[in-house]
Amino acid sequence: MLNTKSVPIQARASLISEKVQSLAPSGIRKFFDLLSSLKDVISLGIGEPDFVTPWHIREAGIYALERGHTMYTSNAGMPELRQEIARYLEVHYGVSYHPEHEILVTTGSSEALDLAMRAIINAGDEVIIPDPCYVAYPADVILAGGAPVSVPATVENDFVIKASDVETRITPRTKAILIGYPANPTGAVISRSEANAIAELAQKYNLVIISDEIYARLVYGVEHVCFASLPGLKERTILIGGLSKSHAMTGWRIGYVAAERHFIHPLTKIHQYTMLCAPTLAQMAALEALRNGETEVEKMVREYDRRRRFMVNRLNQIGMSCFEPKGAFYAFPSIKATGMSSEDFATKLLEEEKVAVVPGSAFGQCGEGFVRCCYATSLPTIEEAFKRIQRFFNRHTKI
């Protein structure tokens, strides 16, 4: 007979995997609770567009629902959508992928990142990531059993990792370099020569490049350099993209992976056992977005650009030193003049002036001394926020 006397659940920490226990909670989430307790907060802490998905895309979603498109699609995604993604990548970045064998539609680019990590990492493999970087990068590496190795992306180098810094961190266990330009949280973009230098390392040491290009359409006055388009790099690149930022479709959860079959097949294998397929309605909407969405995308990019210049102008007026972001929708000003840690700065700013920004330390050690301000919000909001930030900054700056 089984012993039915149970052990109290709290006493069994071992129920949770050590890997998950070792993950630090997201620095952003900690903030969330404090925020929720306050009223009339102006938030520059958001990482998504303030635009609602353009109507023609929403309408296509409604129509799909009316027609009863409520079943699964093939694992890799609707063939028409994969074709459209391949065409889109060709048109915008000059890279060509076979729609049938080299494209996988995922539930947001977040899933794509996770799939890429799980597909390539063996226990103990090292993955080089920039510091600061998007909060999920190190977590995804750890969850896949790998070890993230940070390379500083310092303000002195315009928040782009230097190939020489990467090279000194390469060991026999290094499997891949995971990068994302245009970058969250800094708004940095990578130049062709800097990208080429990293590409050469990948070839010299036989590394995979996982390039998270979710912000690729949001660049201002500079070209976006697609890693897969660099000479000889397509075969070792897992290119990740999505429609969340470009088409203001965050809640639809549509991302994609483009890579040669030796990557796409293993990634699809994990995807079929975990996600099965990306949401069908969202795929139908994404199809409309890619076919007819250019005008709206360009309109949004123009608007972001105005807000970007406006925010940088205000930062300069206040005297907060800020690197000029050329991509995504973030500014990453230095708060070192206040002598506070970025977490203290963000907490006090929230308490004293009710403005939410994200402490740079949430994105890695090298983010310390900076805060992330998102300009995907209306101009009057940005203007009011900076009135408050100015008061705060003047009050706390040590001369």
Partner: protein, 160 residues
């Protein structure tokens, strides 16, 4: 330069300083361009979009199709001008198709519009026929959607 007008078209109250920050130009330069545009009738007027219906002060509006006979030497322009100079005519367009002029006419009440049509418009020499459609409901005008529920912010205050 075009960008300055695009910003003003969306918000006529944007100050030269605000615009300057958005387009990365000195404010004095922006002001100069705006003054010049006002002088050259590139900027015709600064207006406000008001939802009069919401105030219970809504006027009556009608779309009027007008068939007119063109005149030698002046085409449709001379007769069109005689029509669009009436203050009741809010907008006037020459269009292709079954009729020639499309008018948007505004009046305090139905009576005022019908008086305009029967006493001013229809008797004009050159006007062959008119068809009047009274507007029942305004959904959208000049790109602005009326009576839209105030868009509530659906974003979480902090996201990665």
């Amino acid at each position: 330069m075009k960008e300055i007008f695009e910003i003003l078209e969306q918000n006529a109250r944007a100050t030269p300083e605000q615009i300057a920050a958005m387009v990365n130009m000195p404010a004095a330069e922006v002001e100069k361009i705006i003054n010049q545009a006002e002088k050259n009738a590139i900027i015709l007027k600064y207006k406000t979009v008001i939802n009069w219906d919401e105030l219970g002060e809504g006027d009556v509006w009608a779309l009027i199709e007008v068939r007119i006979a063109p005149q030698r030497g002046a085409g449709f322009d001379a007769i069109a001008e005689r029509i669009y100079r009436f203050p009741q005519v809010h907008s006037a367009y020459l269009v292709s198709g079954a009729y020639d002029l499309a008018l948007l006419v505004r009046g305090k009440n139905m009576q005022e519009i019908s008086t305009f049509v029967t006493e001013k418009l229809a008797p004009l020499e050159g006007v062959q026929s008119t068809v009047t459609h009274f507007l029942l409901k305004r959904y959208k005008e000049n790109g602005e959607i009326f009576r839209i529920a105030k868009e509530t912010n659906k974003r979480l205050p902090v996201t990665p």
